[in-house]
């Protein structure tokens, strides 16, 4: 029973090689902007470029809006469903699955169709487009935020906590903010990090809404400046890694999720 699991190690080796090879390739490429030298110049160029800072800030801001909108939408809904309307749970789960099934490209297709002409010509204005962008992102990350919060609620036996709080005289605001949300902190933060990782890299929606986001910037850079774009790729990877790392830390075994662009 204690024999050396050669087959297992072999597969793991292949898997990790597959995983790391492109990353090494990217890193290698990004360091070679000056012929035959290893320098970090590509990174310097990228980080100092004003467009980098602008688009990154823009996407970061959009991410924050998305997180806020998502949380406000999901948390109270999930809580209410858990508490009062448990029979609605499968329906809500189905709805969240729906948004997963409609990929970004179809979403954009429909958005443009509806919002590029009167009466709902949101795309005419910048604010309108920003709004659409955030809504698009919310729809993309909704299933995962909901699932995270749902799992979090399941783990803390919402009903009993609420009843206990009520019997001690707490009103709804107190219950929500002092009892429920603190216990959901891990779940909400996990969702937030996932949203962040998704929004930063998102390409499709931002491109079509012609917004100055990070994803399209990266793609455009690839046309003209290969070295800088691979440096950017490494930066994006680092951000993703940190986000996932935070989720692991917070979730302690939360299921993997993916959202957004592919």
């Amino acid at each position: 029973m204690k024999k050396f699991p050669l087959g297992s190690w072999l597969i793991i080796f292949v898997g990790f090689t597959y995983f790391f090879l492109p990353l090494i390739g990217t890193l290698d490429f990004s360091l070679r902007i000056l012929k035959d030298q290893i320098t970090l110049d590509a990174y310097a160029n990228v980080i100092n470029a004003p467009r980098f800072q602008n688009t990154f800030t823009y996407s970061f801001t959009m991410a924050l809006w998305t997180i806020a909108a998502c949380t406000l939408l999901v948390a109270p809904t999930a809580y209410w469903v858990h508490l009062k309307l448990p029979h609605l749970r499968p329906i809500i789960e189905f709805i969240t699955l729906l948004t997963f099934v409609v990929p970004a490209i179809l979403l954009v297709f429909g958005l443009i169709r509806i919002y590029s002409r009167p009466p709902l010509s949101l795309m005419e204005s910048e604010i309108g487009s920003d709004f659409l962008l955030v809504m698009g992102y919310v729809s993309l990350t909704l299933p995962f935020m909901y699932r995270a919060v749902d799992n979090g609620l399941r783990a803390i036996d919402v009903r009993t906590l609420t009843e206990a709080a009520q019997s001690l005289g707490a009103g709804w605001r107190t219950i929500l903010f002092s009892v429920i949300f603190p216990n959901l902190r891990a779940a909400l933060l996990s969702g937030a990090f996932l949203t962040f990782a998704t929004v930063i890299g998102e390409f499709t929606i931002a491109t079509f809404l012609a917004r100055p986001a990070f994803g399209p910037y990266m793609a455009n850079l690839g046309q003209t400046r290969p070295y800088e774009s691979t440096a950017l790729t490494m930066i994006s990877l680092a951000l993703t890694w940190i986000s996932i790392g935070m989720i692991q830390l917070l979730g302690r075994g939360a299921q993997g999720q993916i959202a957004g662009t592919r």
């Binding site: 597969i11 099934v101 297709f109 919002y115 790729t233 994006s236």
Partner: protein
């Protein structure tokens, strides 16, 4: 009329803001168009292939890390890396593959150097007709985010295999292989198939990766829609809708099958 597609279509306003699509019958689609059929064929081919490869490879990895007798740290590492890899899709992934398998890419050059050292003649990947912008490379790129997704989703199912089942089967005389064939694999099958369906629809709906890798030249269904919206093709609204409708059917169909398989496995495993 373009390429034999005609479409009559009644737009409806949306009920929910960010679900921009709501179709209503009647409309007719005439799918005699070559370009549409070839786009679907290509997309289906790519999606099925990467779902199968990613699914099988991901399953083997998850099995090795969870049930294969390896230390616990391997499992944690695998799950973390899978989380990163599956979220790495899109533009950055495409660039990473170009940097790795391009004409001057890391692996291309590595292969040249190693084969030169070993046999005296360098082996140039590109002489075989391979290109980082081609079908094989696209497949490899897609698999990169497919197999981690399989790992992440199938890991809890593997955890759910009760140790007692294995012991009971051994107690009744079964070998490890028989246990897998008669108990574990049948129990896991709905989950595995369901996840592969998920992988399929995941690949089918992907666009950013392919676009960033091939510059929009690869005629996938999603790229077709992309080009439509961009106005890069001779303007024909019918084409876009036709393709989009087909896509919705495929995605919805996949979802339905996935759902059915989930219910089945949940029923069996309910204690």
């Amino acid at each position: 009329m373009f390429d034999g597609v005609s479409l009559e279509w009644l737009p409806q306003s949306t009920a929910i803001e960010f679900f921009g699509i709501k179709f209503s019958l009647p409309f007719t689609i005439d799918f005699k168009s070559n370009s549409i059929i070839s786009a679907y064929t290509l997309s289906l081919q790519l999606s099925v292939t990467t779902a199968l490869i990613g699914g099988i490879f991901g399953f083997l990895l998850a099995y090795a890390a969870i049930l294969g007798g390896l230390p616990r740290s391997v499992r944690t590492a695998l799950l973390t890396f899978s989380g990163v890899a599956s979220n790495f899709a899109g533009v950055p992934l495409a660039f990473a593959f170009i940097a790795t398998l391009g004409r001057l890419g890391f692996v291309t050059v590595l292969i040249k150097n190693v084969t030169e050292q070993l046999t005296g003649t360098p082996f140039d990947l590109y002489q075989t007709g391979f290109s980082v912008f081609g079908y094989v490379s696209l497949t490899l790129t897609y698999v990169y985010f497919q197999f981690p997704l399989m790992v992440l989703i199938i890991a809890p199912a593997l955890d759910g295999l009760k140790k007692e089942w294995r012991e009971a089967s051994e107690n009744l005389g079964a070998s490890g292989w028989q246990y897998w064939r008669l108990v574990a694999f049948p129990v896991l099958l709905p989950s595995i198939l369901g996840t592969m369906i998920l992988l399929f629809s995941n690949a089918f709906g992907a666009v950013a990766t392919a676009y960033a890798l091939t510059g929009g030249n690869f005629a996938l269904v999603t790229i077709l829609i992309f080009r439509q919206i961009r106005g890069e093709v001779l303007q024909n609204p019918g084409l876009g809708y036709a393709v989009a409708v087909g896509m919705i059917f495929i995605m919805a169909g996949s979802l339905a099958i996935y759902y059915w398989l989930q219910r089945k496995s949940e029923r069996w495993l309910k204690q």
